[in-house]
């Protein structure tokens, strides 16, 4: 059988060997914790604590104010020190709750609302909403919104995105190796919401041990199947994973639910399990700290709100001065200039590289080689879109389907002329989207 995949894509150096065989370690932060009120897509949460209040682990410190929003919980016990703007990974100043960690980790006490069998569908959605769960793969879309499609009866597949196609990242892999039953448990909770849906665990075939464990654990589950995907970036992109596993295609104006699919990332599904079955809100995630500058590349179980600087120190600090520090993977991550930023629900990795390949290579003229078009999973022609973007030629940009770009970065990666294709297209898309909003 042909391997499940999509057309296009690239095979960059994956760097996963640095951290893939290292068991997850617990990281205990010290001092100040910063909780951004906007760690998700949608309306920022509203604080329900004030300066001077003492809080416990798991206590809600900000509530959601709209349907598309998510509450925030404290991941430590301590005292609210301030409610003020703090720098986020993006470089922006974002309104945040700052808590001084007393390092006692006193908990509010976690009890599941009721056994899973006794919960109704609306109960489950409410628990997920109250637990502040958002898409932890990076997008940060509130999970309860995703799980409330217009017509739940039309959902045929629940896809667990276990591809982890982004180079260097091994957090999902470690989670699946160490706590596979929690991922499957989260899948079962979600399947309860959709009576006729089939659960798919979609795993790239560079993780054969993982595929084996999942197959073994699900062999008696008639509603969950494991599907091995070809290892290729961006196999874990939503449109590509939906296509690879179900053969259904969506474009930029559609959601997976439009073709009967819902896709959730590994950590999100585990968070669903923890919230519904164990009664614990979304307060932690697994983060890969890696790169050739990190003394001890590892995966850490990190409390949300921790500082990246402490996390780097925990991993042994830098062996050489990094030239580039990236929050996330090298393809989709965000370059940061300040390590004093907090971990959020959507953080996946901290990558410190001794060399910045981008600044070493100056762009030159396009030779029309067509490699960008060959690797583009969106099946557009990036070189021509970038030309249109350079001239702010909106008409040509739209005619050539510029809005179908998912900003995966394959074109910039592959370009022999080292053109900044993704960046040009991304800027143009932002301009057009901003215009449409007006």
């Amino acid at each position: 059988m042909a391997k499940l995949t999509f057309t296009g894509g690239i095979h960059p150096y994956d760097g996963k060997e640095l951290s893939k065989d290292k068991p997850i370690l617990d990281f205990l932060p010290k001092g100040e914790m910063v909780y951004l009120l906007s760690q998700h897509i949608g309306a920022p949460a509203r604080p329900v604590v004030k300066k001077g209040d003492s809080v416990l682990v798991g206590q809600k410190i900000a509530e959601s104010v709209a349907f598309v929003s998510a509450p925030v919980h404290s991941s430590v016990s301590g005292t609210v020190k301030a409610i003020e703007p703090r720098r986020a990974v993006s470089g922006d100043m974002v309104q945040s709750i700052v808590i001084e960690n007393d390092e006692m980790y006193d908990e509010v006490g976690f009890y599941p609302e009721a056994p899973l069998e006794k919960l109704s569908k609306t109960d489950i959605i409410d628990i997920i909403k109250e637990a502040g769960i958002v898409g932890m793969g990076g997008a940060g879309f509130p999970t309860h919104v995703k799980l409330s499609p217009k017509d739940p009866r039309k959902i045929d597949y629940i896809i667990a995105n276990c591809a982890e196609c982004e180079p260097y990242l091994t957090s999902d892999y470690r989670r699946m190796m160490e706590e596979p039953e929690k991922l499957i448990g989260g899948m079962k909770v979600i399947l309860k919401l959709f009576d006729k849906a089939l659960g798919i665990l979609a795993i790239e075939d560079n993780k054969p041990d993982c595929i084996r464990i999942m197959k073994e654990l699900t062999k008696n589950e008639n509603r969950i199947v494991v599907k091995a995907l070809k290892t290729k970036y961006p196999q874990g992109a939503e449109r590509q994973i939906v296509y690879a596993t179900t053969g259904r295609k969506i474009n930029s104006s559609m959601l997976p639910a439009d073709v009967g699919c819902i896709v959730n990332n590994v950590d999100t599904m585990v968070a669903v399990y923890r919230a519904v079955v164990e009664g614990i809100p979304s307060m932690e995630r697994i983060i890969t700290v890696t790169g050739d500058c990190i003394a001890r590349p590892r995966n850490y179980r990190v409390r949300i709100g921790s500082s990246y600087r402490q996390l780097v120190e925990e991993a042994g600090g830098f062996t050489v001065q990094p030239e580039k520090i990236i929050c996330g993977g090298p393809m989709m991550g965000v370059g940061i200039f300040d390590l004093d930023v907090p971990v959020t629900k959507t953080s996946t990795a901290l990558l410190a590289l001794s060399k910045d390949e981008v600044s070493l290579l100056a762009p030159s003229a396009c030779i029309n080689c067509g490699r960008c078009a060959q690797v583009c999973p969106g099946r557009v022609v990036p070189s021509r879109l970038a030309d249109a973007a350079e001239h702010f030629d909106e008409e040509t940009f739209l005619k050539y389907n510029g809005m179908e770009c998912c900003e995966c970065g394959c074109c910039s990666y592959i370009c022999p002329a080292k053109r900044q294709l993704t960046q040009e297209i991304k800027s143009m898309r932002k301009i057009i989207l901003a215009k449409r909003k007006k």
Binding site: D356, A365, R384
Partner: protein, 311 residues
């Protein structure tokens, strides 16, 4: 934070491929053809190759001074100079590749904006320019004091030709076109490196063969067809000039269409044209149609058009 920190938008990694690397690979791939040409036609062939490369690279360098942007390092001018020399008969005077080289780089390439902006293959455009301007010099295929027709000319005149000689390259012709083995060896190297693929050469050669078989007045005569395939600039053109990135369609469907068009045009020129040759003009004409071909073969974006497709 340290000043050495770099910030940029994603992605943060780049592949190893570079423009100069690709051009260098093409030069290496042309070495068997050039080497055989030098062996077959003598040291004069080497002189012409060097003169041609010096003219193209020199023109590029001088123009770079005017543009205040030096691009010699991308090696594309070396490829143009080499290809131009391989498309010349060994009997031409030294100044012919100089004129050709200057024309290729200055008129065809730099005046249109430099690498990536030319709409015709510079080496081929220069060859056609020389063919029109100096027809006698460009069609004098005498070598070793022997004056003989090229295999294709002989074939057109109704004579029989030795196909084995054509495959090895022991025939009259331009410096780089005579040996099928040498050209195909270089092409295989590029295909293995993933620099070219068989879309254009494949559709080109198959279309040409079918056209010759149907309209060539020799039917499916294998001797005639293999002589047509091995003769003239067809192989060099199909693998090294029709595949030129800048002047071929970027769309995949367009590349097949481009190959088919070249096959048809080459067939028409060879069968019905006054000369025995037709590859250069076919490719130049094809180059001109690229924007049109791209327009009708523009790809549909992922998820656009069409409904659900179940696996």
């Amino acid at each position: 934070m340290s000043d050495s920190m770099k910030i940029s938008s994603n992605p943060h990694v780049r592949s190893k491929a570079t423009v100069s690397g690709i051009m260098a690979a093409v030069v290496v791939a042309l070495m068997p053809a050039a080497g055989y040409g030098i062996y077959h036609f003598g040291p004069r062939a080497l002189e012409l190759i060097l003169i041609s490369i010096v003219s193209t690279v020199g023109t590029e360098f001088l123009f770079g001074l005017i543009r205040k942007k030096e691009t010699v390092g991308d090696l594309s001018a070396v490829v143009t100079g080499l290809l131009l020399a391989l498309n010349l008969p060994v009997s031409v005077p030294w100044w012919l590749p100089v004129i050709g080289g200057v024309f290729a780089i200055l008129v065809v390439k730099e005046l249109f904006g430099g690498l990536g902006q030319n709409f015709m293959n510079p080496a081929l455009a220069a060859r056609c320019f020389l063919l029109i301007s100096f027809p006698a010099l460009m069609t004098d295929f005498s070598y070793d004091a022997v004056t003989g027709p090229t295999p294709l000319a002989a074939l057109k005149a109704g004579e029989s030709v030795n196909v084995l000689d054509m495959i090895v390259g022991r025939t009259a012709g331009t410096i780089g076109e005579t040996s099928l083995i040498a050209i195909v060896a270089g092409a295989c190297f590029l295909i293995l490196l993933g620099i070219i693929d068989l879309r254009i050469p494949g559709s080109y050669l198959i279309t040409f063969l079918l056209f010759e078989a149907v309209f060539g007045r020799h039917g499916f005569d294998p001797a005639y067809l293999s002589a047509q395939l091995a003769g003239g600039g067809l192989m060099l053109g199909a693998f090294f000039m029709a595949t030129d990135y800048v002047t071929r369609p970027i769309t995949i469907g367009g590349q097949y269409l481009f190959g088919i068009f070249l096959g048809l045009m080459t067939g028409i020129f060879r069968i019905y044209g006054p000369g025995a040759e037709g590859v250069s003009y076919a490719i130049i004409l094809g180059n001109l149609l690229v924007p049109l071909i791209e327009k009708i073969t523009w790809p549909t974006a992922f998820g656009k058009g069409g409904g659900r497709r179940e696996k």
